[in-house]
Symmetry: none
Amino acid sequence: MPAPQAMRRRILEAAVATLAAEGVSASTAAMAKRAGIAQGSIFHHFESKAGLLNALYLELAEEVRAAVLADIPAAGLREQLLVVWGRWLDWAAEHPARRRSLMLLSLSDVITAESRAGSARNQAAGVELFQRAAAGGPLDGQPIAFLGAVVEGVAYAAMDAIQRDPERAGQYHAAGFAALWNLLRPA
Amino acid sequence: MPAPQAMRRRILEAAVATLAAEGVSASTAAMAKRAGIAQGSIFHHFESKAGLLNALYLELAEEVRAAVLADIPAAGLREQLLVVWGRWLDWAAEHPARRRSLMLLSLSDVITAESRAGSARNQAAGVELFQRAAAGGPLDGQPIAFLGAVVEGVAYAAMDAIQRDPERAGQYHAAGFAALWNLLRPA
Amino acid sequence: MPAPQAMRRRILEAAVATLAAEGVSASTAAMAKRAGIAQGSIFHHFESKAGLLNALYLELAEEVRAAVLADIPAAGLREQLLVVWGRWLDWAAEHPARRRSLMLLSLSDVITAESRAGSARNQAAGVELFQRAAAGGPLDGQPIAFLGAVVEGVAYAAMDAIQRDPERAGQYHAAGFAALWNLLRPA
Amino acid sequence: MPAPQAMRRRILEAAVATLAAEGVSASTAAMAKRAGIAQGSIFHHFESKAGLLNALYLELAEEVRAAVLADIPAAGLREQLLVVWGRWLDWAAEHPARRRSLMLLSLSDVITAESRAGSARNQAAGVELFQRAAAGGPLDGQPIAFLGAVVEGVAYAAMDAIQRDPERAGQYHAAGFAALWNLLRPA
DNA sequence: CATGAATGAGCGTTCATTCAT
DNA sequence: GATGAATGAACGCTCATTCAT
């Protein structure tokens, strides 16, 4: 019973690496090879390629949530957001292949509406923090999906900048957060 | 040769529709079918699928630029940005398939570095406007690529919101712009 | 009326060059391009690709015959054969593309039995010379086709050697002829 | 994996038959059909069509060598050559499709220089026999490639004659050998 | 006649999935 | 379970040939 889960993990890790390297069109054979198993064995653990990719999408989304939202210290709202911001950028910087896979998957049409909804539910707690920060600002009262997308847009811009130019990571981290805070707060 | 350009256009339009409907992995056969021509005929007008997609990418990028940046009225910076913002969201709302295609293409690795550079050059005038608006704000002095990505992130969030919920288009338009202006300006 | 023949010639010359460069699978489009005409124009001068290749085969075969067998001086048999041998090797050395095309065509199955028969008839006079030389030797009385093939085999070996190593052309010329003469004569 | 080699063999046999029947441009689909397998299955056993054809070329070349050069009896040079000559003609007569395939392949440009070199190395022992027989004759001291080509040319002429007119096989066999021996020996 | 765009069958190759071992 | 050979539909692309201009 421990083995099946371990095999599943190995396949998912291999899938991350393969996706990051070759895009969503990476073959299941390439994933199997990277996992060190036979081509056909993947299908003992996942119903289909689509099933595997959806499972991976959910795992990665949950991983981000855990990395970013676990044990947020009791503190002022700005300090809490700063913690979240920092963890988010750090996760992206430390796991570029995972970030790339997650992004490729979220843009691919193999990810079902159900998977997307699950992922969104997952991140609700995080968005809610930003929602509180938006009180009185221009996005006060806007739907969560909109607010979340705005925040995500700014965060992805910072992640891309850091990945492109890691030596100025601190500068992008600080400027990005200042911009985001500005964006949320009343003028 | 009554209209070699007309056939090219028909293929590109069919490609937009097919990409929007089926993703980047849409087959050239599907595009040909939608264009009402034989499969092989595509290759009289484009060297390869990659060539077709790059041409489409450049056309769409130029189309956005023309729609958004043409004849910006002499006015205060805020009014100019508001014009740009409005035209951008309008283009997206009016051409959802084109927007989706452009996004899918820009995330795909068939688009060459050269195409991307051409597109970036194209949009330089627009980004420069935002750069001027950022003076004194948290993104003052940041690289153009970072600033552009932040602005794009906010704009895409607004476009998605409007597409999801067109009845509140005005609200997303106004709140998005206020947030963007806040983000750029000094606290 | 002069023009049609000129165009035909141009196409055949282009076909030779294209065949030599790209093999029998060379496209008619490539030949048309090399001839400086439109793809479709080839089919105003030749019924089909197969028709073109058969015509080329016959032209080349006739060209060899003319180059090798025209005006053979009255002389002893050995001297006559030496003239033929020399002209044959010279033609091959001077027209490698034509030789290669002729060989490719003769091995291809687009050349009909009729074309082959025509070419064989053409060369009968030449083979007859060798037949006379074979009198009393081991091939005396053998069918013309067999005798011709043997002679051809020796000649092609010499041509290949000269093409591979042109500096020793004289040596291959002389040794090849001596071997051929030995082969034909009584022990 | 009951017999991975068996499938490989079946494909190679089907390739021989298909090549002999349709020429080098025979499709892999036709080979698969003749082998009774799916089109795609060929590519589990061979990397590509070119890989398959090169493998076939090497197998056939080795097969000829084994059939012709194995266990040559200790005897006078003439008797040894006669054994080789006989085995060579017999192999060709018994395996016309294999001979035709080998010839088509050797003239095709899908066969790599490496394959050709391997095949040449393979046959060195045979050519060396003819080289010894050439001592004192017109081809004494000529490069192996030239000598080999001459011998091959005479042999192929005999094979063709036998194939065309099997009833006189003995006559072509004897006359061909006499001619070859004459060719090699001093006048 | 010349043109070259259009055709559509066919090519070599890939790949998710199945299944006998 | 694990294996990997087998499948066959699909893919991007080529090409001889046709035909409206």
